[in-house]
Symmetry: C2
Subunit: 221 residues, 2 copies
Amino acid sequence: MCSVIDDRTLRARLRDAAIEIVAARGVDALTARTVAQATGVSAGSVINHFGSMAGLRQACDEYVAAEIRREKHKAMAAGTDLDVIGALREVQVAPLVGYLAAVLSEDSPAVARLVDELVDDAVGYMEQGVAAGLLEPAADERARAVVLMAWNLGALVMNRHIHRLLGVDLTAATGTELAPYVAPVMELYSKGLFTEAFRQRSATAFEHAATPDARRGREGS
Amino acid sequence: MCSVIDDRTLRARLRDAAIEIVAARGVDALTARTVAQATGVSAGSVINHFGSMAGLRQACDEYVAAEIRREKHKAMAAGTDLDVIGALREVQVAPLVGYLAAVLSEDSPAVARLVDELVDDAVGYMEQGVAAGLLEPAADERARAVVLMAWNLGALVMNRHIHRLLGVDLTAATGTELAPYVAPVMELYSKGLFTEAFRQRSATAFEHAATPDARRGREGS
DNA sequence: CGGTCATCTGAACACCCGTTTAGACTGGTG
DNA sequence: CACCAGTCTAAACGGGTGTTCAGATGACCG
C-alpha cells in the first residue's frame, strides 16, 4: 500500500482483521472478541479504538469503499474497463471483494455511496463507449448502468451459488480461472439473449401487457 | 388480534409469521420471541413446534422453496416464461420473494436446492426457446442459465440499491411498475451490450489478457 | 364425574453479545 | 527516584438470545 501515514497501527491491524473475518466467515462472525483474538489483543481494545462495534463496521465500510474506489480509478486510468468487478479481482484484494459481497445485502451508508459512485462512473465511460461505437446505445443510459451494476455486484453476492454450479469462486479466482463465469457473460453481452424473431413476436404481445389483467394464470385470492 | 378462528394450524401461523418477519425486517429480526409475539403465543411454543430455531428456519426455507416451485410450474404450464422472478412477482407472494431475497446470500440447503432446480428448469425451456429460434444459442447452455439465474436472483438481493437508484421495489412492484428495471433488462436481452466493432477489437486484445499483469505487493501483514 | 393426553405458558437457565471500568504495564520526564 | 499520561488487560455488568421445564389449561373419553 503506497498511501498514507501510519498503517501498522493497532487500529489498522484491527480493521484489517475485521475485514478478513467478514470476508471469510460473514458478518455474524464479526464480534469484538473474534477480531480481538485474531489480532492478539483484548476485546476492550477494539472498543477503545473504534468507540463501538458500529464504529468498527463503519470504519471497515469506509476503508473498503475507499480502497475499491482507488483500485478502480487506477484500472480506469490504465484502460477502459467495463467490468468493474473484473478489474478488482485482478489485483489480489480478495478480502476486500469478500467483504463487499458480504455487506452488499445490508444497508450501509458507506456501501450505498460506493455503489452510487460506481454507477456514476459506469454511466460516464459507457457513454464514451457508445460514442466510440463500441457499445450499443440505450434508451436510458443511467438505468442500463444501474442494471449492469446490480447484475455484476449481485453475482458477487450470489457467489456461493455460482461456486456450487460453475465451480468458480468470484472472490478468489483471477484471469482465466474465471472463464466458466466470464464466457457466458461475454456471450450475453455480445449477442444478447433474444433473437430478432423473439423481438417481433413480443412486440405484438406488448399491447396485451398494457392491460393489467392479461395474466395467463388464474389469480389465487 | 383476531380470535381463535383461523383455519391454519398454529404451526402454519408461526411459519408464516416468521417468513413475514424475515421479509420485512431481515434474518436478524427473526427470534423466538418476535415470531411468538407476532403470533400471540409464548416463545416456548415455537420451539415446541419446530424443535429449535434452526428447525423453524429450515421449515421456512422448505416452505418458501416449495411455494415458489409451485407458482413457477403453474406459470410454466400457462406459457413459456424466461423471467422466473417476473412470473413470481405477478402473483401476490411478496413475503415469499422478500424472504428469498433475504436468505439467498446465506447458505441454506433448501434454498440451494431450489436454485439448482430453477437452473435445471431454465436450461430445459431455454433449450426449447433456442430450438424455436426465439433465443440465441449458447456455447454452454447450462452456464448461460446459471449466469442468468445469478443475475435475476442477484438483482433481488440488491433490491435495496435498485430501489434507491431506480425507484422500484422488486419484491413489491407488479406489472408496469417494474418498467424502470425491466425496460433496460429487455434492451440488454435484445441488443446485448457490445457492438460488432467491440467484438472485433476485443478478439485481438484477448492475447494480452493471457499474460498476468504487474503484481502488486501488499504490506502491513 | 375423573383420568389422560397434548398443548401452551411463564419463569427460569446458560450462553454470548457489546460495553464499562479499575487496575497493571509501559515509556518518557522532572 | 517519583510522577505522569497513555495503552492495554481482565473481569465484570446488563441485555438479548435459544432452550428447558414444571405446571396451568383444556379438550377428549371412558
